[in-house]
Amino acid sequence: MDKRSDFSAYLDGEVPEALRGRFESAWAGKAEFESFRKSREHLSALLQKAPEPDFESRREAVFLRIEQTIREKQIMVRPKNWLSSRVRVVWAAAAVFAALIGGIFMGRLLQTLEGPNANNEEVITFQLPEGFELTTSGNPEFIQVTNYRRRP
């Protein structure tokens, strides 16, 4: 115990300069004193450490900061996202294009169903009069009428 109190006095700088050399040679390489020295240093470090943070005040500070951020977000203009706006433009253009193509398709469909050539596939049938004889000789064929005059 005396040794420890001497050692403690030595560490506290209370040993006179003339005796310091003797103390050091007596304690050199002894684990007991080394361990004691380390414990003291650790205790000293704990005592000199900054106090534990104030959680309550920190929480208030955090809430204040968040509140400020929310307020700013509410009144600030939303920053433009260049990529997303471009994607929207592309989508809008695609929708317009699709509507136009759909319209043209529908128009064509309506024209086909109700237009002038809707019944073009239908076979026209004329009833020939009686007493008529077909000329099978002389290779009948279509010929262009020259010097054509429109009938009155």
């Binding site: 136009l100 319209g103 398709f105 128009g107 309506l110 008529f132 000329t135 279509f142």
Partner: protein
């Protein structure tokens, strides 16, 4: 999003109108009639004339038939527009019904002819009636 729906509907209607504004097509007029070989022979009782019009669509055949109980003449005209004129591929198939009720082929021809708008084309010689009249079959491309 609310504004996009009427916008797209407007475009749909606009596209339909644009598609409907297609150029008026050429038409083919087919007319068949009895013509007097001599004007003096003509009378009101033996008048006969038939006619029809069809739209000319490239590569789409126009078909018509002249029918009687014992006779059937089928025409198939396929138009191909060429610089304001029409190359017509015309197939003619004439058949007569035999006494047994079966059709017997009389004539079958394929012909190509270039037709100009407003210039008629006649099928000749076609035939004649026993009352001194000839049957005229005329094709006519009508301009839009």
């Amino acid at each position: 999003m609310i504004l996009r729906v009427p916008g797209c509907l407007t475009l749909l209607v606009l596209g339909s109108i644009l598609a409907a504004q297609e150029e008026v097509p050429y038409r083919l007029k087919v007319s068949a009639r009895l013509e007097a070989l001599q004007p003096a022979v003509s009378s009101e009782t033996d008048q006969w004339e038939e006619g029809a019009e069809k739209v000319l669509v490239e590569g789409t055949p126009i078909r018509f038939r002249l029918e009687r109980q014992d006779l059937s003449i089928a025409f198939r005209i396929t138009p191909f527009p060429q610089n304001g004129r029409f190359l017509m591929i015309i197939q003619v198939d004439a058949r007569r019904r035999s006494e047994e009720g079966r059709f017997v082929g009389l004539m079958s021809t394929v012909q190509t002819i270039t037709m100009e708008p407003e210039v008629p084309v006649l099928f000749y010689p076609f035939g004649k009636s026993d009352q001194g009249r000839s049957l005229a079959l005329e094709l006519h491309v009508l301009s839009p």
